[in-house]
């Protein structure tokens, strides 16, 4: 009996580094090379584009200095407090507006249109109300954070599956039980999404307020580096700040399982 060999297809060998990674490395290298060229070319004002070595050294100095961590702690505490106050009040108002169509029609429009206005313009008022210390920065962060959380929670509340609510009501759950056992668990994603947005704007609000009037915090350090024209230090601080902000944003998203949600 004649036999035939089994046909096999040799798979193409996987490239060691994918083309996407290669392109990313090429872009990063190109940007760094252009940067270094500009730093040494004299085309721009001296020190506006410091050499990568100077930025690296400033980054090392920054991260090895205890003073930076103290200021980072001050800013983190201000942002954390703002997020807590703004987040809790945003969730409460969001639940109220989402649960009641009349209240939603009466007041949600104000939140919707006030939400995207530039909050930093309220800083003079916050200074009057809460002083020049951390209070005014926390207040500005709270104000910034409140709107996205409230709007996101109100929208999430309206999307809760009606079956879940009927189940809660059929068990004669109290209002508190409905909130803690039905509404909040069912709205996990809108709440986390709102908090993620709120974190971003609270961070911006707090840090901008620090750059305007403060004597401690990361915003103060940035504007201080600008005042003394210490450009490598300013670049180093902005790099660390951007990394921290993007990392915190990704962490909140991962914590809430937002990666699993199909983006619309």
């Amino acid at each position: 009996m004649a036999t035939t060999d089994r046909l096999t297809r040799t798979a193409a060998p996987e490239p060691l580094v994918s083309p996407v990674t290669l392109l990313r490395i090429a872009i990063i290298l190109a940007v760094l090379a252009i940067w270094e060229f500009l730093a040494h070319s004299g085309l721009l004002y001296r020190d506006v584009v410091p050499s990568l070595l100077a930025i690296g050294k400033a980054l090392f100095d920054l991260l090895s200095h205890g003073d930076y961590y103290f200021n980072l702690g001050v800013t983190a505490a201000e942002i954390g407090t703002a997020l807590l106050i703004g987040g809790v009040s945003g969730i409460a108002v969001g639940i109220l507006l989402g649960a009641n169509r009349f209240l939603s029609k009466a007041f949600e429009g104000y939140l919707y249109y006030l939400g995207p206005t530039p909050k930093i313009i309220f800083f003079p008022i916050m200074i009057m109300w809460f002083g020049v210390g951390p209070g005014s920065k926390i207040a500005l962060g709270t104000l910034s954070c409140f709107f996205p959380v409230a709007l996101s929670v109100a929208a999430g509340m309206r999307q809760i599956d009606k079956v879940l609510i009927r189940v809660g009501k059929s068990f004669r759950a109290s209002t508190w039980q409905m909130i803690t056992k039905i509404y909040l668990p069912a709205m996990r994603h809108p709440i986390i999404n709102g908090i993620r947005l709120g974190l971003g704007v609270a961070l911006i609000g707090t840090l901008l307020a620090e750059t305007k009037l403060s004597n401690k915090g990361i915003g103060f350090l940035i504007i201080n580096a600008y005042s003394t024209f210490d450009m490598p230090r300013m670049y180093a601080m902005l790099i660390v700040l951007f990394v921290l902000a993007i990392g915190a944003n990704a962490l909140v998203g991962r914590f809430g399982g937002l990666e699993g949600i199909k983006r619309t």
Partner: protein
């Protein structure tokens, strides 16, 4: 019936919008009383009547209209730049898939980064002038335009692309006659978001560097301790922002009437 559909008894004949306005007016009235009765210091919160009275003074003496035009001009400049570069960037990323795969996450990360905090850096590069404000607005608003352009181009219906192919359209014709018009509503969503971010950042940076239009006005009045004027200027900026958002929303609805 969703929970939002539940309506409180007795509220059926009262207009919600009326209740909203009435609540606002009552809150202002209570504030006025508390200040007049010295429960709240008028050196911290000026009476609402004083704020309303200062509107005319602020508008005439502080040249609000020319300041408004300056801020609007900066916003339009940033808007033109971000429309040009944002859409071009998005189209490029959509056409070069490798570039999209490599850079889309970076653009999304850029959207999450607090770019406005780099304003001292922009002041060093561009000087304390309108360009710092415009460039700050431009960079902070660029990511949503790029991302929405990519999304709009990618979501063009296959049947439209096939119709173009059946007519033997050139790649340029395919882009201008099919892809771009189909993606335009989604692109405009990005441009709208971008313009909102640009306005927020432009007014914010004006306030912070004490230069330019409406943002500087608030800073000026606050530094002069003109409390009623500061509150009036803040109300004016809020009004301008709200009108700006409403106009953008109307335009978006006009562009995508089906949604």
């Amino acid at each position: 019936m969703t929970i939002a559909a539940s309506q409180q008894p007795g509220t059926r004949f009262v207009s919600p919008a009326l209740v909203g306005v009435a609540t606002l007016l009552v809150a202002l009235l209570i504030m006025e009383l508390l200040i007049q009765l010295n429960f709240i210091s008028r050196f911290i919160v000026p009476p609402p009547s004083e704020i309303v009275a200062s509107f005319g003074r602020v508008i005439v003496e502080e040249h609000v209209f020319s300041r408004f035009l300056l801020t609007l001009g900066e916003c339009l400049m940033a808007g033109v730049m971000l429309t040009m570069f944002g859409i071009a960037g998005g189209v490029l990323m959509h056409r070069v898939k490798l570039l999209q795969q490599a850079c889309e996450t970076w653009v999304a990360a850029m959207a999450a980064a607090p770019l406005v905090l780099a304003y001292p850096l922009f002041m060093v590069i561009f000087g304390r002038n309108a360009w710092t404000i415009i460039m700050m607005g431009f960079f902070a608003a660029l990511p949503p335009v790029i991302l929405k352009t990519v999304e709009g181009m990618a979501s063009t219906r296959k049947v439209l692309v096939n119709v173009g192919r059946s007519f033997n359209l050139t790649p340029a014709q395919q882009f201008w006659k099919i892809m771009f018009p189909a993606a335009l509503p989604t692109i405009f969503v990005g441009v709208r978001l971008g313009l909102i971010f640009a306005l927020i950042n432009i007014v914010g940076v004006e306030f912070l560097i004490n230069y330019g239009g409406l943002g500087q006005l608030i800073n000026d009045l606050a530094e002069r301790y003109d409390l009623a004027g500061t509150y009036a200027a803040i109300c004016f900026v809020i009004l301008v922002s709200v009108l700006f958002f409403m106009a953008l929303e109307k335009t978006e609805r006009w562009l995508r009437p089906i949604d």
